[in-house]
């Protein structure tokens, strides 16, 4: 029974939970219910992934209406992987959230906070699950609106402007996307992605299709913060409450990258993209992004902002794989999608633990904390190494595939840029590590020597992610295996 409706339950569960959470009394109850829901969803997502892991496709007809008229949830290895990332990160973030939220968010807003969190989870999972392009827009708006609200809850006043900035940019992105969808509908009369994929090839020459494509690409480039449309991201990540930063950094942009993959490979088809300058443009933007954003990260004085710029650079790695358009490249994109969620999740959780103890995210305030908070420090070191791509960590696997994809096409410049990006990552990661590792400067010394290790409720989720970073650096059956299955479906006939 459950198995038949798995795909729907994944989305419906948090959606139904949201209003219930909202009316619960403030206190631990909203947190407890959300955590429970997120764990169940994570369990369902894992179940779903197992069902599709050997290449099957689940087609779920919403309300029994057959596609292309009704809404179809179409699950293959790619969606299932993304759904697992989103729900897995949520399931780890929520236990972590308890203490952090009590400290950062006013008591009377707790229930609403968790309700918004549930809605955001609904939206992100919905985007991953759906096979209907308009339905995708609806979920996009659900996740975006709730994340604007979540970001604005940040303690500092700048959180409001950051949320507003994201609201404007995000709305432009969503509008562009819906314009594109409208144009596609006008030309083909369908909103189902699989159906679109069949009807589009005969219309490839049509200018409206090109226009629709451009709108959709720019719209989602905004959502996933592709350089130079990333300007909202550093502020949003910096000023949002820590928990929100962790969750959004590890999931929101990943889901947007997934949509990009779907649009490029399933809906339009790479043969269409190749005849437009899009793939070259992607490569150009990504190369610029990796270099410039990594440099930016090096010069940041705020730890969250530093990681935010690093995220923009890392997103460019994922888009690079799409731009290369090869089997290896897309495999790299999907693998990095997963791995980057692990590393950024771990890093932001560790930074969050420091913020929890020190009350600030500025690097200079962390001086000498490595000794006081050894577990948090170790988490930053391992997460950072994964971000750099040191062998033995998950990050290495992504880099491995990405560089191989570039070598395969003899793009030596891109090879150089990817490796250069790793070296720049060494510089910004070590900036954090040095501050923590070396003794405190005099004026900080007295404050920081009294600091204790982060509470266990924070350390456990953090270390689950840290260990995952190591585990997936050695065992890639789940990541690479699933990615290869997904690529087979995304790029039929490419092998």
């Amino acid at each position: 029974m459950i198995e038949n409706h798995l795909s729907l339950l994944l989305v419906a569960l948090p959606l139904l939970a949201a209003p219930i959470v909202a009316v619960l009394p403030n206190g631990r109850l909203p947190w407890a219910l959300s955590t429970l829901v997120s764990w169940s969803v994570c369990y369902l997502a894992a179940w779903q992934l197992i069902n599709v892991s050997s290449g099957q496709v689940i087609s779920y007809e919403l309300g029994g209406w057959a596609p292309p008229w009704g809404i179809e949830y179409r699950i293959d290895a790619a969606n299932a992987l993304v759904a697992l990332i989103v729900s897995g990160i949520a399931a780890l973030t929520l236990p972590y959230a308890l203490k952090s939220v009590i400290k950062e968010i006013p008591h009377q807003q707790h229930a609403l906070f968790y309700a918004a969190f549930m809605l955001c989870l609904t939206g992100l999972l919905g985007i991953a699950q759906t096979g209907d392009i308009f339905n995708l827009f609806v979920f996009l708006e659900i996740s975006s609106l709730s994340s604007y609200a979540l970001i604005s809850l940040g303690k500092q006043r700048q959180a409001l402007t950051a949320a507003y900035q994201y609201l404007i940019m995000g709305t432009i992105g969503a509008t562009f996307f819906i314009i594109g969808v409208g144009l596609l509908y006008a030309m083909t009369g369908t909103l189902n992605m699989a159906d679109l994929a069949q009807r589009l090839p005969e219309l490839y020459e049509h200018r409206t299709i090109h226009t629709a494509f451009a709108f959709i690409m720019v719209g989602f480039a905004l959502k996933l913060a592709l350089f130079p449309l990333h300007l909202w991201l550093p502020n949003a990540y910096t000023y949002a409450p820590t928990v929100v930063t962790i969750f959004l950094a590890a999931t929101a942009t990943k889901v947007a990258v997934y949509v990009m993959l779907r649009m490029v490979f399933t809906v339009f088809g790479f043969s269409f993209i190749e005849n437009t300058p899009t793939d070259e443009l992607f490569l150009l933007l990504c190369v610029t992004a990796i270099l410039s954003m990594s440099f930016y990260a090096i010069y940041q004085k705020d730890s969250k902002r530093l990681l935010a710029y690093s995220s923009v650079a890392q997103i460019a790695y994922m888009m690079l794989g799409i731009g290369l358009g090869s089997v290896l490249g897309v495999t790299a994109t999907l693998v990095h999608l997963f791995n980057h969620a692990l590393m950024k999740g771990a890093l932001f959780m560790a930074i969050g633990a420091l913020i929890y103890r020190v009350g600030s995210s500025r690097l200079e305030h962390f001086s000498g904390l490595g000794k006081q908070m050894p577990w948090t420090f170790a988490a930053i070191v391992i997460g950072g190494l994964s971000l750099i791509g040191v062998p033995g960590t998950a990050g290495f696997i992504s880099k491995w595939y990405l560089v191989l994809a570039a070598i395969e096409q003899q793009h030596w410049l891109i090879v150089g840029v990817i490796l250069m990006g790793s070296l720049l990552a060494v510089a910004y990661v070590w900036k954090i590590i040095e501050v923590l590792y070396f003794n405190a400067t005099d004026e900080r010394e007295q404050q920081n020597t009294a600091v204790k290790e982060a509470p266990l409720m924070m350390l456990i989720p953090m270390w689950v992610l840290v260990l995952a970073n190591i585990y997936f650096g050695f065992n890639t059956e789940l990541t690479v295996g699933t990615a290869e299955q997904a690529v087979k479906l995304l790029m039929p006939g490419a092998n």
């Binding site: 190494l385 750099i388 791509g389 040191v390 062998p391 033995g392 696997i397 880099k399 491995w400 560089v403 191989l404 070598i407 395969e408 090879v415 490796l419 250069m420 790793s422 070296l423 060494v426 070590w430 040095e434 590792y437 070396f438 003794n439 650096g473 050695f474 065992n475 890639t476 690479v480």
Partner: protein, 491 residues
Amino acid sequence: MISLTSEQLIILAILLPLLAAVLIVLADKRPNLREAITLISASVVALLVITLATRINAGETPSFDVFDVVPGITVSFSIEPLGMLFALVAGTLWLVTSIYAIGYMRGHHEKNQTRFYAAFAIAISSTLAAAFSGNMFTLFLCYEILTLSTYPLVTHAGTAEAKRSGRIYLGILLGTSIGFQLLAILITWSVAGTLDFQQGGILAGKLDPAYAGILYALFIFGVGKAAIMPFHKWLPAAMVAPTPVSALLHAVAVVKTGVFTILKVTLYIFGSDFITSSGASDWIIWFVAVTILLASLIAMTKDNLKARLAYSTISQLSYIVLGALIAVEMSLVGASMHIAMHAFAKITLFFAAGAILVAAHKKNISDMGGLGRAMPFTFIAFTIGSLSIIGLPPFGGMWSKWYLALGMVQTEQWILLAVLMMSSLLNIAYLLPISVRAFFAKPKEGVVYTEVKEAPLSMLIAIGLTSLACIVLFFYPDPFYNLAVDAATGR
């Protein structure tokens, strides 16, 4: 012990230091227990590598895969003669260095000793794992873990200078390994479809010989640990570390992992035949030759004893690389043997330098006039180490130079032979005056050494052992010689 298979011994040798690191951290508050853990695990590891060495000499070739990382790329371990030679050196010297380190760290009142011993054990574990690596991926993995685990040792002092040195250390070692070595590995993988170490190499016939030189250069310069100019600066910078670190890690484990990697790449990725037939090493050889001479010249200008020894190491490492680049049997034997011979001689010199620091608080050579009469044992050992580095009989260092020179004669590389000989002269010029000054010169004005005694006993034992080894290895180089010949001829 004997009832275990060689595969189990390999795993034990790698895991035991790791386990020791964990126990050391747990024994944080009890220094004696902590040091006992270090000594016991070091003794067992020494026993393990010696047992393994006898089995390898008897013709065993253990190898096994641990697990697949991605399809075709495995973490795997295997022992061939060259790796065994390196492991034998690193494994036995860890025990000696541990004995020394206990005296040094306590005598010098260092802080954070727990972190020191734990990081040291991890570094040894990754060195042994590198020595036993069965493919290039595993070797690269261990190479990077070694870089990272030695960072806390280099920056042990926690001062601004240590921080700066740490940056240079990581910047060069990670920079070259990610920028060049990883790229070379990826290209190798995409060309050859495998990263396994195979006799005769995996690239011959698959890589266009015209590109062999570029790929080889990526490997050679990608191995920053071999300290070939212009990527040598990290080694003098690393001298800010406590002396036991400089002795074992920056004269033996870390730097030798570098040259060992180059030898492995030469023998088992390219294959010596492919190197000579494609001319891959033709132009890199001059970088190495220049490194040998230039580093020796710079060493002469250094007054700080450890800095002088560091530049000497840079020069000596390039001997080994040179042997690899010439890639004929004799030169490869010489290069492999030099891993061992230089290790024993240079660790003696560093031990002596540390003893001088602890006993007399002297860092600079110019302050050491007359010190030899106060610390005769230390300076005799220093002299023995120096003579072995120079390559005079009856010291072990003679053999490796002998075979290196034979290799050059065989290939008629007269210029390189001249470089080697000139470098030996330079060795004399920068090493012997130290002993001469200590024994025969007068102390500086107003300095008297009546208070200065020899260093603590545990340090003297270590110094005695390694300097004795320098002499023994002249008369009985067989354990290393046999392994080196087996490696070079591809038994």
